[in-house]
């Protein structure tokens, strides 16, 4: 027998994919055909819930319009003090486990907000203030099904941090966290005059819930898709809404194509290459191509890249997360060794450098007014070598812009 024939027969008894396996794979793919939520990510599975914290922090470093909450989101929350294990969860926010840098959370002041029912068990929302005047939410969902079988480890948790001025952005209601398919839930903030919120489902129907201390949460049936939160005041009048999942009647965005050559911005460290290329796109958009040494390339074009910060050094959102994506684990729970800083510089900025906590610095590649840098994170990052501030200089070498990254 020749070796090719022998190999061809090796494990040839492997059965075909079951109908269920095939169905699950098809559903996973089909979910990508749908529009994405406002995080810029597909709806998040239970396993990926933790990543919400990182995604939402990207929102946490935004600068936005003033809002009805006044100076502190946290002051409106009056629940009981959080137990030690919850405070430890908030400690993890600053322990480098979720974020590269400390978002400024104050765990000892953590309080309870509300609890709500989901299809798998009771969810509880806790809040802790941020030093700069914002709040972090931490959602814990106790899996009653596994608990009843005497199993541990089925609980889910995740959350996000929100800067003082950014959460509502002038709206009366805004959804900030979603989970799905199970536990399937929606968490959001509402302005002081909002007493109840109705969450509408794509499949039809709605669930109404009270607003507690400016926060609301609704558990939905597994597999359903929440689309819109509608806010009502004490007299039952509709005072605002937040559509966070596009209705199917909204036509899909036009397919954009690059209209010029790609310019490459390269970051390399320890022999590991990560690069982004940019090109102008039809309709004034931007195309991005992204390559990593041992990961398949990725690319996309967008009509509008979300601007996360104002000013001469704007941080931009890459398609899978916030502008400064420095996570220790990705959405599959696998370690992530690289973070990315991507943004747009004003015309008068001719060079950009990144300064680290340990006072070292490095140049940031700048092309067509866009800068991009890949950074080693987690265990690969040197102690104290966390990115702290971007500095933009004009042609004469004068500092014309700075952008802090650690707040």
């Amino acid at each position: 027998m020749d070796e090719v024939r022998l190999i061809a027969g090796f494990r040839s008894e492997m059965p075909r994919a079951s109908d269920e396996t095939r169905r699950q794979a098809r559903e996973l793919l089909a979910r990508q055909f749908e529009p994405v939520n406002f995080f810029g990510l597909p709806r998040l599975s239970r396993r990926s819930l933790l990543i919400l914290a990182a995604v939402a922090l990207g929102g946490g470093i935004l600068a936005g319009s003033a809002l009805a909450f006044g100076n502190s989101l946290f002051d409106s929350i009056r629940g009981k003090p959080a137990p030690p294990d919850v405070r430890r969860d908030f400690e993890n926010f600053r322990s480098d486990d979720v974020f590269l840098y400390d978002p400024g959370v104050i765990p000892p002041r953590a309080r309870g907000v509300l609890s709500f029912q989901t299809s798998i068990g009771r969810g509880t929302i806790w809040a802790a203030p941020l030093r700069q005047g914002g709040v972090c939410l931490w959602v814990r969902i106790h899996d009653a099904r596994t608990a009843s079988r005497g199993q541990a480890g089925g609980d889910s948790s995740g959350g996000g941090c929100y800067a003082r001025d950014q959460v509502l952005g002038g709206k009366r209601v805004r959804v900030v966290l979603t989970g799905g398919p199970a536990p399937n839930f929606v968490v959001g903030f509402a302005a002081p005059q909002v007493r109840s919120v109705e969450v509408h489902l794509l499949e039809g129907g709605a669930r109404r819930t009270h607003v507690y201390d400016g926060v609301f949460a609704v558990g939905n049936a597994p597999g359903t898709t929440a689309t819109t939160a509608v806010a009502f005041d004490a007299k039952g009048r509709k005072v605002g809404s937040d559509t966070f999942w596009p209705e199917p009647s909204i036509p899909p965005a036009p397919v954009l194509k690059p209209t010029g050559p790609f310019e490459k911005l390269v970051g390399e460290q320890d022999g590991y290459r990560v690069s982004a290329s940019i090109a102008p796109a039809t309709g004034g958009g931007l195309c991005l191509e992204f390559e990593q040494t041992d990961v398949p390339s990725d690319s996309y074009c967008e009509s509008r890249i979300d601007v996360q910060t104002a000013g001469p050094l704007q941080l931009l959102r890459l398609w899978w997360g916030p502008p400064v994506q420095i996570w220790r684990k990705d959405h599959t729970g696998e370690p992530v060794f690289w973070g990315y800083i991507f943004g747009r510089a004003a015309e008068d900025v001719s060079s950009v450098e990144l300064r680290f906590e340990d006072r070292s610095s490095m140049p940031v590649p700048l092309e067509r007014d866009h800068f991009f840098l890949a950074l080693a994170t987690g265990d690969r990052a040197r102690p104290g070598h966390r990115p702290q501030v971007l500095v933009g200089r004009d042609r004469a070498g004068r500092v014309v812009a700075t952008r802090r990254l650690d707040r």
Partner: protein, 210 residues
């Protein structure tokens, strides 16, 4: 002796010649990509399941199509309009994170005679009394360099031609030839050494399109 899957490969290419058109259309109409899934899922799953087991294989197969969908703008229908090599290339990339696991299972099979990969499959015809040749083959596959094992198994299990393997892995045709040649020689050598040697036939000497 002609290899039996050679004819199937040719007809497959004809049937699938419009993959490129479907992928192009899916840029405007994403759901069209479902056709690519329907055409190729079984082959991708079968390959991955044989390499790392049905559970990891199912996960990786789903991930392969998700990645492919996200990367579809990069698919180039020339010179090979068939998406199959491209999909196997993505699948092979994803397998890189499972190499240690794959080798561990191959070695376990060689050691115990029970294949952990087939053992995971509920409906597999398990062979507790695995042949000595199969156990030695598992040992030989585990001993190959990862890039050689990729080429050998893409050739033997995925039924890709030399040029399709080159396309899948993004390497030169000559690299495919040399890796495959080295891999086959190494397997032969290890099987010979174990006393489970193979008889060299004309069919094992040449390639398919090379």
């Amino acid at each position: 002796m002609a290899e039996p899957f050679q004819r199937e490969r040719e007809s497959w290419t004809k049937v699938q010649s419009d993959d490129g058109a479907v992928i192009l259309e899916s840029l405007a109409e994403p759901a069209r990509f479902g056709e690519i899934f329907e055409r190729h899922y079984d082959a991708i799953y079968a390959y991955l399941a044989r390499r790392v087991g049905p559970d990891s294989g199912a996960e990786l197969a789903a991930e392969t199509f998700s990645r492919a969908f996200a990367l579809r703008q990069r698919f180039r229908p020339e010179p090979i309009p068939n998406a199959r090599p491209w999909l196997f290339g993505i699948a092979t990339n994803l397998l890189r994170h499972h190499r240690r696991n794959e080798v561990r299972k191959l070695r376990a099979y060689a050691r115990t005679g029970v294949d952990p990969v087939l053992d995971e499959a509920p409906d597999a015809e398990r062979r507790a009394d695995a042949s000595a040749a199969s156990r030695e083959l598992a040992r030989a596959l585990a001993a190959l360099r990862p890039d050689e094992r990729d080429v050998l198994l893409l050739f033997s299990w995925a039924d890709l031609s030399y040029s399709e393997i080159a396309d899948a892995l993004g390497v030169e045709l000559g690299t495919v030839r040399s890796r495959l040649s080295r891999a086959r020689a190494r397997v032969r050598e290890l099987l010979d050494r174990s006393g489970e040697g193979v008889v060299e036939t004309p069919a094992t000497v040449g390639g398919n399109d090379g």
